[in-house]
């Protein structure tokens, strides 16, 4: 009788162990080595993403930026970039970084690069790569041969496609061409909606917008973070009772005393509206 029970206790032990093992595997953080960017922790993924955006401003190569972003295996690379840019702005992070993220989103959504590559600031750039010093005392070799995927990513050649328009260059000044009140009962909040266009009436992403409160305080944000509205669109949530001044681009026209407009509904009730501002690059 006891011999017959023998197999059952072994099976029970195996089952208990199996459940324990699965639980441990699910709870223990994973640490990979010699691994792929998609397995990075979230902080390093953010850093990798922002570096891709900064490098994009140098190369202006949509294909290469896309290939690099694909390595992170985000559900939507554009959404991840937008979210990161917004978080960065909310946290008062680097303006240059958030601008780079916004420009990359715009570039990817529109399919063609629309910025001018940043110039090199190196004092003495070497003209010829004839002699590249590499350490020879203890050569380091990658432990795993690179995959075809990695090769295709790294071997991408630079193919900048700079165009003349639109160019969100530093110092571009924009002029207000239209200001109107937006009165929609079901609108999500009271916004300052900014649309920025170039001289050819094409929306421009990555344009710096500076907003200040009359009694102090200033915030900066960029167009291009809501490409589903327009690549040249940005908005700012106003607070009741506050008055704002706004400037688009560097040295652009200052628009003063912006505040929540009062709108009248069909039934005569009053509700808070939004402001729509349209800017165009000055001649």
């Amino acid at each position: 009788m006891s011999e017959k029970r023998g197999h059952l206790y072994l099976f029970t032990g195996l089952l208990i162990g199996l459940l324990m093992g699965v639980l441990i595997a699910m709870m223990l953080p994973v640490h990979h080595v010699d691994t792929h960017p998609s397995l990075l922790d979230s902080a390093d993924k953010d850093l990798y993403r922002s570096l891709i955006a900064r490098a994009y401003l140098v190369e202006v190569d949509n294909g290469r930026a896309r290939a690099r972003l694909d390595l992170l295996e985000d559900v939507s690379a554009e959404d991840a970039l937008v979210a990161q840019a917004q978080q960065l702005l909310a946290a008062g992070g680097s303006e240059l970084e958030s601008r780079a993220l916004a420009l990359l989103v715009a570039g990817l959504r529109q399919g063609v690069a629309q910025i001018t590559p940043l110039p090199s600031k190196l004092v003495n750039p070497t003209s010829e790569p004839a002699e590249i010093k590499t350490p020879t005392d203890s050569p380091i070799e990658p432990t795993i041969p690179p995959t075809q995927e990695a090769v295709s990513t790294l071997a991408a050649t630079i193919t900048p496609h700079p165009t003349n328009t639109p160019q969100p260059t530093e110092g571009a000044s924009y002029k207000l061409v239209d200001k109107s009140e937006v009165c929609e009962v079901d609108q999500p909040g009271s916004l300052i909606q900014v649309y920025v266009y170039n001289r050819a009436d094409r929306p421009v992403a990555g344009v710096r917008i500076e907003i200040s409160i009359t009694d102090g305080g200033m915030e900066t944000f960029y167009t291009g973070l809501y490409p589903e509205v327009s690549p040249g669109y940005a908005d700012y949530q106003m607070t009741e009772g506050m008055s704002y001044n706004l400037r688009v681009g560097f040295g652009g026209q200052l628009i003063q005393n912006l505040s929540i407009p009062r709108c009248t509904a069909g039934d005569g009730s009053i509700f808070a509206g939004s402001i729509k501002l349209v800017f165009k690059k000055a001649d």
Partner: protein
Amino acid sequence: MRKSRLIGFLIAILLGAAGGMFLGWQYLPSQVSTTRLQDLRADYQADFVLMVAEVYTTDGNIDHAVKLLEKLNPENPLRAVQQGLLTGQQMGFEPWEMRFMADLETAIRGHLGQGDAP
């Protein structure tokens, strides 16, 4: 007899746990990752170095570049660039890419005061 059953039971648990952990890591891995940039494969690290070098060419901020490279090699950021150069050579990086990284390596040498010796 009871002792042998107990031992058998424990061995079964251990075997089950090993199998369970294998299955868990294969099919239900933890969503929490502690994988850092320094754990990236050499070719991805080389591409990271290249991006840092590209950014450095535009902003000339060597402190920022070193800070980023410390993510790959906290003790020796210069070593990270040198490894990037080696990997880049092996993988056939473009000459301009190698030049960017070589310029960064030279700048870091100067910044860290390491002269010509690696």
